[in-house]
Amino acid sequence: METNEISADSVNILLAGIVGMLLLSVALVVFFIVYQRRIFEQQRILLAEEQAHQKELLTAAVEVQETERRRIARDLHDDIGSLLSATRLYLRQLKPDSSPEKRASIQNESLNILDEIIQNTRRITHDLLPPVLEKFGYQAAAEDLCDRVAKSGGMKVLFTGDSSQRRLGEKQEIALYRVLQELVNNTLKHAKASQFEVSNIWQGDVFKFSYRDDGRGFNPNTVKSGGLGLKNIESRTSLVGGHLDWKSAPGKGLEVNITLNNAFAIAD
């Protein structure tokens, strides 16, 4: 039964619409497949870069640990070891028939050396983990460190601490103190700076640490990823869930900003 009520034009328009929608849907499926693969490829590249970066941080952490061990070994060998040997030599001179004057002299010398050994041991242990850090926290330890550097007379130090008695988590405090030690050490050794500035502020639950020196600075592009020291700082910061941001340029000194969320401290 043919009624001829449908014009050829309307059929053609309908067919064009159907074919158009079909092509569009097929194109959408193809686009999805291609685009999804491209995104995954980019993700794979990003993941590989992230893994390489993590590997670099780990290598830096291990290298720093080895350097620290060598330093402790050197300190023990050069300071404590040599002083103990000297004490041994003095004490060997003690004979049953030694004169009382000689005995007294040996005793005095030995006691002097033992005092020096005690002082050096205190210094070494203080460097490893300052008692003030354990007892009074990061801010007190940081202030103490800055104070000692300032008193040494070589450099002007500006320290700004937070007035609140609020403390970070234990791991965060140690990590941040090590970061400060590393930064101060770098400034003293390499920066040729006349002053450095340390600032610690609580903003809500976020702790903001800022370090700035007026040294010679460096070009971040020529120093590979900021060198071992900055890698170590990055490694320590990321381990305690902090965020590190630093900038430097030749003649412009170094500026380091670290933010730590106290939510992480609760999990310590």
Binding site: N4, N12, I13, L14, I18, V19, L28, F32, I33, I39
Partner: protein
């Protein structure tokens, strides 16, 4: 002058209008029955892989079995003779919301993740109400449910496109060919995109049985394609996602 779709006919080396191609002898009388038989393919594959079905595959299996039963029931002469004039349109008024609910069930997890609002229930209720309205006041119970099927196709296209967008943003599936929902979604998008305008205009096309029969062959081809893609969806083995152990558990237990 209207738009004329041209398709290259390689057998005769000249260009034919598409409607002529659809009318040509290539599509013989057995064409529709091929489609009906093809509905058995996903059922057979579904039964073959029954033991390894995940939630979506299980729901899909119920869908293919139900749509097969519905399709055959609507073609029964006895069923058609129940109405005056003889028609199977009332069955489609009933089947359409049922099949839509099946699809909503298949996409349920995606729809749940998409929004906290229970959009699956909303869609199902909304579509049932619309189908009721269409059967009573819209197309009418004795006419082809063009509006319901048009809305069905539109909603399914919307869900399918949203699903692809979600996959692109979430990036949870890397091996698409191993993911049943990818094949289901591709089939759904292509099938409903091709049928959308056809179903919407079917009541108009039915004024000329020859033209409507010719154009309806597109729907049959798309149905064949859908059956193939749904069959592939049954044989896919999605990669197991290994969840990290919880804090209180060790590989040896608590």
């Amino acid at each position: 002058m209207g738009i004329v779709i041209m398709i290259l006919d390689t057998q005769f080396h000249h260009i034919l209008p598409m409607i002529d191609l659809l009318d040509s002898n290539f599509w013989n009388a057995q064409f529709q029955s091929i489609f009906h038989w093809s509905m058995l393919i996903p059922i057979a594959v579904g039964i073959y892989s029954l033991r390894s079905h995940n939630t979506e595959q299980r729901k899909l299996f119920f869908y293919v079995v139900t749509s097969f039963v519905f399709e055959y029931f609507s073609q029964l002469k006895w069923a058609i003779r129940q109405f005056n004039p003889e028609t199977n349109a009332p069955f489609y008024h009933f089947f359409t919301p049922v099949l839509f609910i099946f699809f909503v069930g298949i996409y349920q997890q995606f729809l749940k993740d998409f929004t906290s609002f229970r959009v699956d229930y909303f869609l199902a209720i909304f579509f049932i109400l619309f189908s009721l309205w269409n059967a009573i006041l819209g197309d009418g119970i004795l006419n082809f449910p063009g509006l319901s099927l048009g809305l069905y196709a539109f909603l399914m296209m919307l869900i399918a496109v949203s699903f692809f967008l979600k996959l692109l943003t979430a990036l949870t599936v890397e091996r698409l060919e191993k993911e049943p929902m990818f094949w289901i979604n591709s089939g759904v998008l292509i099938y409903f995109s091709g049928n959308f305008l056809l179903w919407l205009t079917m009541n108009y096309l039915l004024k000329d049985m020859n033209v409507s029969y010719s154009i309806f062959k597109i729907s049959i081809i798309l149905g064949l394609l859908l059956n193939i893609l749904l069959s592939i969806a049954f044989v896919c083995r999605p990669k197991a996602v290994l969840l990290p152990p919880t804090r209180n558990q060790t590989p040896h237990g608590d």
